[in-house]
């Protein structure tokens, strides 16, 4: 099976660049497993865990928001923030949750409040998943 070319970048750094077997990513409308030869697509990401699978090993990376693009030349993830799971600091996540809660309190209209509430739920789910 041909390998999948995968680029994983955040504004501050390149996290990963190379050939992989599979990438599982948290799409905003559901989790996806990307295998080589996947159809071209673009999806936004919700806060969650991206799993890079190569040479039989799984490397989990925590991402907070971003986009994934699958094109014929490979998969690209543009993450807002991304940290390897082992290095991830739960305190920053707790901080984010608090910020989002405050934003919800300050939200001007319902549409914005809905969006923020959804974001908060996603963050809480991630927190629970990481704590487990």
């Amino acid at each position: 099976m041909a390998a999948l070319h995968f680029e994983f970048v955040s504004p501050e750094t390149v996290l990963f660049s190379g050939e992989v077997d599979q990438v599982d990513l948290p799409g905003s409308e559901g989790d996806m497993g990307i295998l080589p030869g996947h159809a071209p697509m673009v999806t936004s990401l919700r806060p969650g865990i991206v799993t890079i699978i190569r040479e039989g090993r799984r490397e989990p990376v925590v991402v907070i928001g971003g986009f994934a693009e699958m094109s014929p030349s490979g998969l690209t993830i543009l993450a807002d923030r991304a940290v390897a799971r082992d290095d991830f600091d739960m305190a920053t996540l707790a901080n984010d949750i608090k910020d989002t809660e405050e934003d919800i309190a300050d939200a001007k209209d319902d549409a914005q409040r809905d969006k923020l509430t959804r974001h908060l739920e996603q963050l809480m789910t991630l927190q629970a998943a990481l704590a487990a």
Binding site: E7, V14, P40, M41, V42, S44, F67, E69, T76
Partner: protein, 292 residues
């Protein structure tokens, strides 16, 4: 004729200046290393963003309801020049090179009958542009308090730019900054960010690929486009800060060398004066003795 003491003081003053410039050069060199690493780390994200957006833009091209940030307002009457400079001087021609490029562009646009507005990031550019275009500066963002550039800083600027765009304050936005090539070469650069221009080469290979969007293309573009503006600004700011330290380093290197030359000249003059005085005193003693 200055006294010997005056000359000594002058040499001491030049030496003190040289110490300062040398210290500044070393500080700039160490900051440069960090700034350069940050600028290089940000390049892949910005260029990937560019190509992803380019691909998506190509696949929704011609759509009636493509977001305005992507296709522009359709007009090109009002131009916003986003001029990023440093907060501090003592960096050679760094700030003036960016300002000169912006000024030339502004005059060229004005000659074509377009109106021009300025958005200044950084105090130095503001101070220089204020002289030529006192009424056209709409915003000034001061990053003096910022120690380490974060993505949030760029996001804040991007939000202001987009707010202006949404209020129909301008049609086209150009970004001015200095690209970091090497310590001795920083290239003042202009880039159009609204509406974005894509490198045809990068998108060409993939044109025609039909993308599936999840959620809808519109929603994605809605998030991606403002983000792209922020990313491009972020990259410009990082390149700028690396360029700034590079420029400062070479400016301070020159200053240190000039101070060295000056000290040599002053020391020579000091010694010559001292010897002249000794010779004069000797002549006086000898001629006094002869007269007896």
């Amino acid at each position: 004729m200055p006294s010997l003491k005056d000359l000594r003081n002058r040499i001491a003053a030049t030496k003190a200046t040289q110490k300062i410039t040398r210290a500044m050069q070393m500080v700039a060199a160490s900051k440069l290393r960090r700034a350069q690493a940050a600028a290089e780390a940000a390049r892949p994200y910005a260029s990937h963003m560019d190509s992803v957006l380019g691909n998506i833009a190509a696949s929704v091209a011609g759509h009636e309801n493509a977001p305005r940030l992507l296709r522009g307002t359709g007009g090109d009457q009002t131009h916003l020049l986003l001029v990023c400079t440093a907060e501090r001087g003592l960096c050679g021609p760094f700030n003036s090179a960016i300002v000169r490029l912006a000024r030339e562009r502004a005059l060229a646009l004005a000659n074509q009958g377009k109106s021009v507005k300025f958005f200044c990031v950084g105090r130095k550019g503001y101070d220089q542009l204020r002289r030529t275009f006192p009424t056209q500066i709409v915003e000034l963002v001061d990053l003096r308090a910022v120690r380490v550039l974060r993505f949030e800083n760029a996001q804040m600027i991007a939000e202001k730019v987009i707010a202006l765009f949404d209020k129909h304050q301008f049609d086209i936005c150009h970004l001015f900054y200095s690209r970091f090539r090497s310590v001795i070469a920083q290239i003042p650069t202009v880039q159009q960010i609204i509406p974005p221009v894509f490198d045809a080469k990068a998108t060409d290979a993939l044109a025609g690929a039909a993308y599936e969007f999840e959620p809808e293309a519109e929603d994605i573009l809605h998030e991606l486009l403002p983000r792209n503006v922020a990313v491009q600004i972020f990259r410009a700011l990082l390149e700028n800060s690396a360029s700034f330290y590079g420029a400062q380093m070479s400016a301070m290197d020159n200053a240190t060398r000039n101070a060295g030359d000056m000290i040599r000249r002053q020391t020579l003059f000091y010694n010559r004066t001292r010897q002249a005085m000794i010779t004069k005193e000797l002549i006086e003693i000898i001629s006094g003795a002869e007269a007896l």
